[in-house]
């Protein structure tokens, strides 16, 4: 049986915000509680806390890799890289068509 979310074709808020949390996890290596994301959407002044999932999640988050950068305290680059231009984007992620 297919999950209900596919049957209805339109996910509810719980599914939507869970999806956002998962995407944030991939990119930032941190866990944002979906309920907190919902709350901040309703009221921008509410607290948005997060926790770092693991050392690996922190060091391997996609966002910094996409930016050809590195998280604070975890550089895989070599001395002097900061004085040279980064690789061309197309060299890095392939040609966008």
């Amino acid at each position: 049986m297919r999950p209900r979310v596919f049957e209805t074709g339109a996910a509810g808020d719980d599914t939507l915000y869970l999806g956002r949390s998962i995407v944030l996890m991939w990119y930032l290596g941190a866990w944002y509680d979906p309920r907190a994301l919902q709350a901040i959407n309703r009221n921008p002044d509410s607290d948005l806390t997060f926790s770092v999932i693991s050392l690996k999640a922190y060091t391997q988050g996609w966002a910094l890799s996409v930016a050809q950068a590195h998280p604070m305290g975890f550089s895989q680059f070599q001395f002097g890289y900061w004085s040279r231009l980064p690789k061309d984007r197309d060299d890095f992620i392939g040609k966008l068509t």
């Binding site: 941190a30 806390t49 926790s51 050392l55 975890f74 550089s75 001395f79 900061w82 004085s83």
Partner: protein, 376 residues
């Protein structure tokens, strides 16, 4: 690191040093090389044999502040703990929040270690391990000669009793010990003369540095652009690399910087100098010992008017009761108090039944200098 054995309780050391930060570590190393028997009293925990614990804590911290790698005991699951429950407390940038804030109110003694009554908080922090100078940026600028004669050159403040020439040799010594990367010609400005070249080439300018340089200096600046500076005719504004105590090549068994962008609070590869480097060298001489979790509490003056011993209290766990670690005292021919601007003044003032010592000027604990802004 070697601890002082209990059978050394009556020993008279050549030198006892309170604190193992920059001053304490460098002095201990020099004395150790000269075969003087030295004991360091350190309020903090021992320095780990490698920095993995520090890095693990730092990576996992949601708020990456200068204290994150070093001081797990100042937080628990509910946030900041009451500093009164910590045996050797320390300030944190997390308690620079506004008055009345739920978290980090700088005036709330249940959260902030420093008790402050002035109009604005003192924002610099320190730790209880190697002086907390693990989290310095590594900036190693020399003063310019006129810094020492503000009164005679500009009619401001006061002149120093010493001048740039008195310190020039020692700047060179310190730059060699710390391992400073800079370009001599680049740094000889406003009267600075450098007789001993820096041990390593400068840190290459970043893309941002290069952009600023190009934007400022592509063509000569005009009077209209620079007049507001009051610095006379100024056609260029040179952009220089900062002299940095971080390796631009392998130096003294430490690697070259890999741009971890993390000098504050910790370099994961120790390309940046911190006092644990000199402390390890000091220990390796075989003449320097250290007592950890040992807080100097009273400087005792003998009948001849000279300091005869320093009393200390000890603890076993960072929080909670002091347990059965016994207090004691150490004797030495010479004492060095190198315990940070705040803690040194505090120790001097609380000694001799809180009447204070070494304070004939009345200036101990006065005129504390802060960073004009906090870089983090």
């Amino acid at each position: 690191m070697a601890g002082a054995a209990s059978n050394e309780a009556d020993k008279v050391w050549d030198v006892v040093i309170v604190g193992s930060g920059f001053a304490g570590a460098l002095i201990a190393h020099e004395l150790g090389k000269a075969k003087k028997e030295v004991l360091i009293l350190e309020a903090g925990a021992p320095i780990p044999t490698n920095i993995n614990d520090y890095m693990t804590r730092f990576y996992a911290a949601a708020a990456k502040v200068p204290e994150s790698p070093y001081t797990p005991e100042i937080f628990d699951n509910n946030g900041l703990v009451d500093p009164a429950t910590i045996n050797a407390g320390r300030p944190t940038v997390l308690t620079l929040g506004p008055t009345g804030a739920k978290f980090g109110d700088w005036t709330n003694a249940k959260q902030a270690y420093l008790v402050q009554t002035g109009p604005t908080p003192f924002t610099s922090t320190y730790d209880r391990i190697a002086g907390g100078t693990g989290h310095w940026l590594g900036t190693s600028l020399r003063f310019v000669p006129n810094d020492f004669k503000m009164k005679s050159a500009y009619g401001q403040f006061t002149d120093w009793p010493i001048g740039y020439d008195d310190l020039e040799h020692w700047y060179g010594e310190a730059e060699a010990e710390l391992g400073v990367s800079a370009d001599k010609a680049d740094q000889e400005y406003l009267g600075i003369k450098i007789s001993r070249n820096y041990p390593m080439q400068r840190i290459p300018p970043s893309l941002v540095d290069q952009y600023v340089d190009r934007s400022l200096n592509a063509k000569p600046l005009t009077e209209a652009e620079t007049g507001f500076l009051g610095a006379g005719k100024l056609e260029t504004i040179p952009v220089r690399s900062l002299p940095a105590a971080r390796n631009s090549e392998p130096y003294r068994n430490r690697r070259a910087c890999a741009g971890n962008t993390n000098c504050i609070p910790i370099c994961p590869i120790q390309a940046k100098y911190d006092p644990t480097v000199s402390l390890n060298d000091a220990m390796a001489t075989g003449f320097v010992k250290m007592m950890h979790r040992t807080v100097a509490s009273d400087i005792v003056v003998g009948e001849n008017g000279r300091v005869s011993q320093i009393k200390y209290i000890r603890y076993q766990h960072d929080r909670g009761p002091r347990s059965d670690a016994k207090p004691g005292a150490v004797k030495a021919k010479v004492f060095v108090i190198a315990a940070n601007a705040i803690e040194t003044a505090r120790l001097l003032l609380m000694s001799r039944d809180k009447t204070g010592i070494a304070n004939s000027s009345g200036m101990v604990g006065q005129h504390l200098m802060d960073h004009p802004s906090y870089v983090s």
